[in-house]
Symmetry: C2
């Protein structure tokens, strides 16, 4: 059987020097899917970088309207091929077609692309800043090299390397993209790349703007992210893989944005338990089991007060974990990965409350798993007890008192999110006021009385957080406009003649509604002169 | 003689475990200054980090007004001690008291501090972003750990680790600072730290907010920037030192902002030479010799057309280099460093036009040095021929034609600045339009018809650029507000109860004039609700 083609320099063609081949798995049937994909070697990587560099040059003369039009056509193309896409993604991920793939994730993906298009057209994202007295003007602009996007296994559309948030942000900033498919869903990624490439052609954009590789040997991946021609990298995936790519990119001085791991701690204060223990237990189960527990923002750690109310809460959560079916995991590595994570927790003092074993059946599955540990034991091994188990797994930590909750918060690693449930009448406010400031510095997004899954794609969202959840605490992977700025460079113009300035920095506001920071005030107006 | 005290945890005290001692040099007399300073070991570093962590906690309850007041009191204290400061800085750097130290650099420094104070009070820098529909709100906030600042030797006030741009930005973002003095001017840094610490006390701020170490062994410096308690690092200095610190910080996932090196290319197009060759030569000499050539933005590389006009220009520059005295360099390492840089250039095909040797005399000095090389030779060794020589040194590259100028631009490393001089009547516009887009992607600041020295402290300034000029192309070290954002984390609040939100994210605008991005529009108003 012939190998699936890569997309390089505007051609769907055979990989030039494949070092190996692979196929995707149908996780619902534990079977290999028929298509085989190449593992690309250096020749493909070099060819893609060269074509991307030509695209960088060609893009210099394109307008924001060209880019916005492409993003919208791409969204249209995705919708036109929705049946095919959800069928393929269902095969490769076992996520249900409804509602997850067709009604939730696919519309989220096209919405992100259209939000990016609107931002490109409106132009405020580029943060045009003008000092009229010195005639110094600056804005964010493209990086001068392509963005390499590594997508995760758990969002075949919304974080796909050829259609997801990093893709949309990188394109919106004016960069070409080299997509590295997640090996869990190469077929979905190929379909999305086809839809993207059709939009590239119908938009008259340079053909090297979107390219696709399915996989590389690890050492070639490291060369890719650190290559002199690369602009930056976006990566969503495991911490070990992310840290290796980060080391290579950092050494070469190439920006890399990573989303790697998070146990998303949830603090449940005593008053919240007194008031609505069973409601919070329902929230926790629902959030922890979403997508079979394979969300970046999955709540893997709960901190509760020890004693009768904590025990009741544990029993309530246990009842839900035991009384509901386990979901199908994304791949063959799922059950083993979860077992390994749980093994680390058990080795370091956690006790199993329920679950803990892989399940038999047609698909890959692991029992919903609840563990417990005392606050003191947690503080003796805080790092090991924050080991992520990527599934419906929660470790419940029983804190002796508020002081110990604060200690636990202080020993958390960087996380994407942190939640605090407290009494609605204010009975927990003294505790809250002591715990929240500590937790605040450990997480990107702090929530009250709700669980962290469900990441709204709005401008104020922070899907980011301190290391090792991500690589930098100042950036978000979700939320136009801020997500775009990651993939840009600050371009300053000092006494550059007016006709040579980019339109965004000329005296006349190019859209009549773009926001610009002029002499320290945000304005949609023109500069008199 | 006793060692000068470090400032740790609010105490001017002896270093706890000095591994060595050092003294500063008077470069105008090639003599050691009398005071001796400790090289701090791990005990001082650990003590400083612990005290800084306590300051982080204490700062959580302080208002922007407290921070702004501190910055202004500090600026006042600097002015009150101006005589002492300029005397000491003159001793340690040989920079002239007038105009450089007293009338240029000191006012620039206090201006930066006051601009930072105004930004803190006004609060727009924190980029408050609110989505009212989802009730998600975010802003930039402190890092949760101190910022370590390594200042350079060439700006004893304006980039001083205890008073300069990185210091002001780190404090404005709400972080404590651990200043690591430049070993060229420890006495100046001690005086500035005294002025800062007096302002800390009179502002009622936590005493661990400002701390001072003079020097550490290299391995302890690496531990400092990668320490779990550190928030981030700001470094201005040499590329070898910067890259070592970067590797250590990157590995630990700690943000580090570096300004390392730049040859600041100047392209002089044929029409500009026809029109005003001698004027451009004067500009080049004046900029290249400013501060004895020891500016980060010193123009070290000029690209000119080969042929008669290029040769005439070379002669004009040569006349100025030869006809003017060389300045006094900052330290004993100056002449050797320049000789080494020039050596690399000569080894790789450059020819000496004038200068090239250390000068005798009371102070450290090196002859103004002009070199030349053909465009073709440059393109054969582009990396070596971009070696920085930190002094009044310029390498003039003679390009055969526009195509070669473009090639030269394409082979440039990342730089802080890039200049293009062109004919005022537009006769160079075809060349400009081909060269500028290439140069644009290689530099942070693109200039027309002016030299790069003289970095205006305005909001649109970019004192940054692609690696290896800095560590990240999206950030600037100069220019409030953007410089502040480097030292902050993105803090998102999701359904957090209104009274628990920071004032900047509540419905009511806390200052009545702070700019906030509300549902995609910048506004100074309140949110109805």
């Amino acid at each position: 059987m012939s190998l699936q083609p890569v997309l390089i320099a505007g051609q769907w063609r055979e990989a030039q020097d494949p070092t190996d081949t692979f196929s995707a798995t149908n996780p619902a049937a534990k079977s290999s899917l028929p298509e085989r994909y190449p593992v690309s070697g250096r020749a493909d990587v070099e060819a893609a970088l060269k074509a991307a560099q030509e695209a960088v040059a060609a893009l210099r003369s394109r307008s924001p309207e060209d880019i916005a039009g492409f993003l919208e056509r791409f969204a249209d193309n995705i919708e036109a091929r929705a049946d095919e896409l959800v069928t393929q993604a269902n095969l490769e991920t076992a996520y249900p077609v409804e509602p997850r793939l067709r009604s939730v994730e696919l519309p989220r993906t096209t919405d992100q692309l259209r939000q990016a298009a609107a931002a490109v057209r409106e132009r405020s994202w580029c943060h045009a800043t003008i000092d009229t007295k010195s005639n110094i003007r600056s804005k964010l602009g493209p990086l001068g090299g392509p963005v390499v996007v590594f997508g995760p296994n758990n969002f075949p559309f919304a974080f796909n390397s050829a259609a997801g948030g990093d893709f949309a942000a990188a394109i919106a900033a004016g960069n070409p993209v080299i997509a590295k498919a997640n090996t869990g869903h190469p077929g979905t990624t190929k379909l999305l790349t086809e839809a993207a490439f059709e939009a590239v052609k119908s938009s008259g954009l340079p053909h090297g703007m979107i390219q696709l590789l399915y996989r590389t040997p690890p050492e070639v991946g490291l060369e890719l992210v650190s290559h002199p021609l690369v602009g930056a990298t976006g990566f969503t995936g495991s911490r070990p893989a992310g840290l290796k790519l980060k080391a290579a990119a950092d050494k070469a001085g190439k920006p890399i944005y990573l989303e790697m791991s998070s146990v998303n701690p949830v603090f449940v204060l005593p008053g919240a338990l007194r008031e609505r223990s069973s409601e919070v237990a329902n929230d926790l189960y629902a959030s922890c089991s979403l997508g079979a527990g394979q969300f970046c923002t999955n709540p893997g750690l709960a901190v509760v007060p020890q004693g009768k109310q904590g025990e009741t809460f544990l029993e309530q959560v246990k009842g839900l974990f035991e009384g509901n079916p386990a979901g199908t995991l994304l791949g063959a590595g799922g059950p083993g990965g979860i077992a390994e994570g749980i093994g680390v927790l058990l080795e370091h003092g956690a006790e199993l409350v329920c679950g803990g074993q892989e399940l038999d059946g047609p698909g890959y599955s692991f029992a919903n798993t609840l563990l417990r540990v005392s606050g003191q034991a947690f503080l003796e091994n805080p790092d090991a007890l924050q080991t992520e188990a990527f599934g419906t797994v929660n470790l419940m930590v029983f804190a002796e008192n508020t002081a110990q909750m604060i200690q636990i918060a202080a020993h958390l690693e960087g996380n994407l999110t942190g939640c605090i449930y407290s009494h609605t009448g204010g009975e927990d406010d003294i505790d809250y006021d002591q715990i929240a400031p500590i937790l605040r510095e450990k997480v990107g997004r702090l929530l009250n009385d709700k669980m962290p899954t469900g990441v709204a794609v709005v401008s104020a969202m922070n899907h980011g957080g301190p290391f090792p959840a991500t690589g930098h605490p100042g950036f978000t992977a979700v939320g136009i406009l801020a997500s775009i700025t990651r993939f840009s460079a600050l371009h300053c113009f000092d006494e550059v003649r007016p006709h040579r300035l980019p339109p965004e920095l000329r005296n006349e506001n190019p859209t009549g509604r773009m926001w610009r920071l002029i002499d320290g005030e945000w304005s949609q107006g023109n500069i008199e002169g």
